[in-house]
């Protein structure tokens, strides 16, 4: 568990240097065009930009740990406010996607392995190759064209806050979540299939079948449980893919979330916001994988930390 500390530390150094390496002087950018040299010097003093770089890093980390990400260059708000305002759509989209993806991928993978060589197996393998080859936004536009424009079943774009009604909220979330889930499904189904295939050949599965158990309990209790560790691992690793996908999907479906904020911040060269978002997403990724590591002990009691 302590291993996450150095990893996050390295990430923090990267993200810190990201701002430091930029050509512009942050104090001058904050001060604006009409500032005098004294204004700039004052802001530099206030931000601690006069101190040695190592000390600046310590100050910066201290601020981050207290939840102070600084002031946005572009949006004229604190970065923390900005992020809080954009959190809900991204959380909703990611949660929906993960649930959808796992619900689709695990059964698909298990059946593909169980009926190896059948059409469903070929479908899963085809999907997994295709899922890695078609970019998220192409899937997004294809689904949008079919379900929203041609069939008119769902709204084309946009987002509705949960507080404004569950119906509209879910309705607008279906297409983006499904879009994002397809790539995730490709990844999870592939690993599920491989993992289940390996367990299916084990002795204890033959024993379970020999004692007359029906296929369903065999698959669920004896196979899937033993095949779970790689599946859970890939769900954790897939979060990196998911985060990249969120950025793109939010742009396609005009969802005002953190992904859209990232792109806007990069286009506006709003470094404090870029820093904060990268740091936040990476922290989430590292933490989810820590959680995944911890679930191993539940799934496989032989693993201890």
């Amino acid at each position: 568990m302590l291993a996450t500390v150095p990893v996050m530390g390295t990430v923090a150094v990267f993200v810190f240097l990201l701002l430091r390496l930029t050509a512009g002087d942050p104090a001058a950018i904050i001060a604006g065009d009409n500032a005098t040299a004294r204004d700039v010097a004052e802001i530099r003093e206030k931000l601690g930009l006069n101190q040695p770089i190592a000390q600046q890093f310590v100050i910066w980390i201290g601020r981050i740990l207290r939840g102070d990400f600084g002031e946005s260059f572009f949006f004229k708000k604190t970065v923390a406010e900005l992020i809080l305002g954009r959190l809900e759509p991204t959380l909703a989209l990611s949660a929906c996607t993960i649930v959808l993806a796992v619900l689709m991928a695990v059964p698909l993978g298990v059946v593909a392995a169980w009926r190896r060589g059948s059409w469903i197996d070929r479908f899963v393998m085809g999907l997994s190759v295709l899922g890695f080859s078609v970019p998220v936004f192409v899937i997004g536009y294809a689904l949008m064209y079919l379900f929203a424009i041609q069939l008119g079943w769902l709204p084309v774009q946009g987002y509705q806050r949960l507080a404004d009604g569950v119906g509209g909220f879910l309705q607008r979330l279906v297409l983006p979540s499904f879009t994002l889930a397809i790539i995730y499904v490709a990844l999870i189904a592939r690993i599920t299939r491989a993992s289940v295939l390996e367990v299916l050949g084990a002795d204890h599965v033959r024993t379970a079948r020999a004692k007359g158990l029906a296929e369903m309990p065999v698959l669920l209790r004896h196979v899937l449980r033993n095949a779970a560790v790689p599946i859970v691992t890939v769900i954790g690793f897939g979060v990196a893919l998911l985060i990249g996908g969120v950025v793109v999907t939010e742009s396609v479906f005009a969802i005002p979330g953190l992904g859209r904020l990232t792109v806007d911040a990069v286009l506006a060269r709003d470094y404090p916001t870029v820093q904060a978002v990268v740091l936040l997403f990476s922290a989430v990724y590292v933490l989810i994988n820590l959680l995944v590591d911890l679930t191993y002990t539940v799934l496989d009691p032989r693993i201890r930390y």
Partner: protein, 309 residues
């Protein structure tokens, strides 16, 4: 976080006679289909000026937002008229989408191949040193772990924001950096498994300098997995470039790239979906071909993982 756990690392290439390998090559459909599609795309990119294209950046205000197959009539100064068709329609600036898509293949291939070559070369050097020189290993791997915990697309987007003007070179660099740790891990895993082999030990016992041991005895073992990894890097680089351009943070919009064409077509997608359709077909076909080539090569070069994944 232990990243090495799910990665299928192609270690220890079995000593198979070249003849046996060549015998199996024709039976691997994946390699052939991938290579054939890729050859077509490369031909398209190379022959772009001869495929009935016009200047992909030429703006024609009269011919804006034409549907695919629309007629184009040009009246010359002497009164004669020539007619041609916009095979894939035009965009909102009147640029010929067909020409842009055809020329766009150049950017994608350049990005894919350059990123693959650079990240494999850099990753190989870092991986060899890190795997062989123990004191270096800890430091290098911590840095790589850190880099890998920033989601790749996010890191690429953030890196693009570092430079004032975006261009091909910035985009390539922004895609290379997130790919390097994956190559380093792979090379390091091979080196770690090979360094204890008797023949490496023998070479060292005979007094061969570190550089010679690495180059003559360790390096050859990394080539097969790197070829496979290189094709996957190439595929993912083409995808990421398209994503960056699509988001508007990639190559400048006047350059014809598949991502840029799609970004341009976003606003009018409801009425004119062709601006997104055609480049995405080309993009998907190219990436699929490279991935199939990679899958096939992996099966050929590393029979251990064949048919498992």
């Amino acid at each position: 976080m232990n990243g090495a756990r799910v990665e299928t690392v192609g270690v220890a290439i079995p000593a198979e006679r070249p003849a046996a390998r060549a015998w199996r090559l024709p039976r691997n459909r994946s390699v052939w289909i991938g290579a054939a599609v890729l050859a077509v795309i490369v031909a398209i990119a190379g022959l772009a000026p001869y495929l009935g294209t016009t200047d992909p950046a030429a703006i024609d205000p009269v011919a804006r937002n034409k549907r695919p197959g629309a007629e184009r009539v040009i009246t010359h100064d002497d009164g004669t008229r020539t007619a041609s068709t916009f095979r894939m329609g035009t965009d909102s600036l009147g640029r010929d989408v067909y020409s842009r898509v055809i020329y766009g293949s150049r950017v994608s291939l350049i990005v894919g191949i350059t990123v693959a070559l650079i990240s494999v070369a850099v990753g190989l050097v870092i991986g060899l040193l890190s795997g062989y020189i123990r004191w270096l290993d800890g430091i290098v791997m911590r840095v790589m772990d850190g880099l890998m915990s920033i989601p790749a697309i996010l890191l690429a987007i953030a890196l693009v924001s570092l430079s004032r003007g975006t261009g091909l070179r910035t985009v390539i660099l922004a895609i290379v950096i997130p790919e390097i740790p994956r190559v380093v891990r792979l090379v390091r895993a091979v080196v770690l498994s090979v360094r204890e082999e008797p023949y490496v030990e023998a070479a060292r016992a005979l007094g061969a300098p570190t550089a010679t041991v690495l180059a003559r005895h360790v390096l050859p073992n990394t080539i097969a997995p790197l070829v496979v990894q290189g094709t996957f890097v190439c595929a993912s680089a083409i995808l990421v470039e398209a994503i960056l351009s699509f988001l508007g943070v990639g190559i400048p919009p006047e350059t014809p790239t598949w991502g840029n064409i799609m970004a341009e077509g976003r606003a009018l997608f409801r009425i004119l979906p062709h601006n997104i359709l055609f480049p995405s077909l080309f993009l998907a076909a190219t990436v699929l071909a490279v991935n199939m080539l990679g899958d096939g090569l992996r099966d050929l070069l590393d029979p251990r993982v064949r048919k498992q994944i």
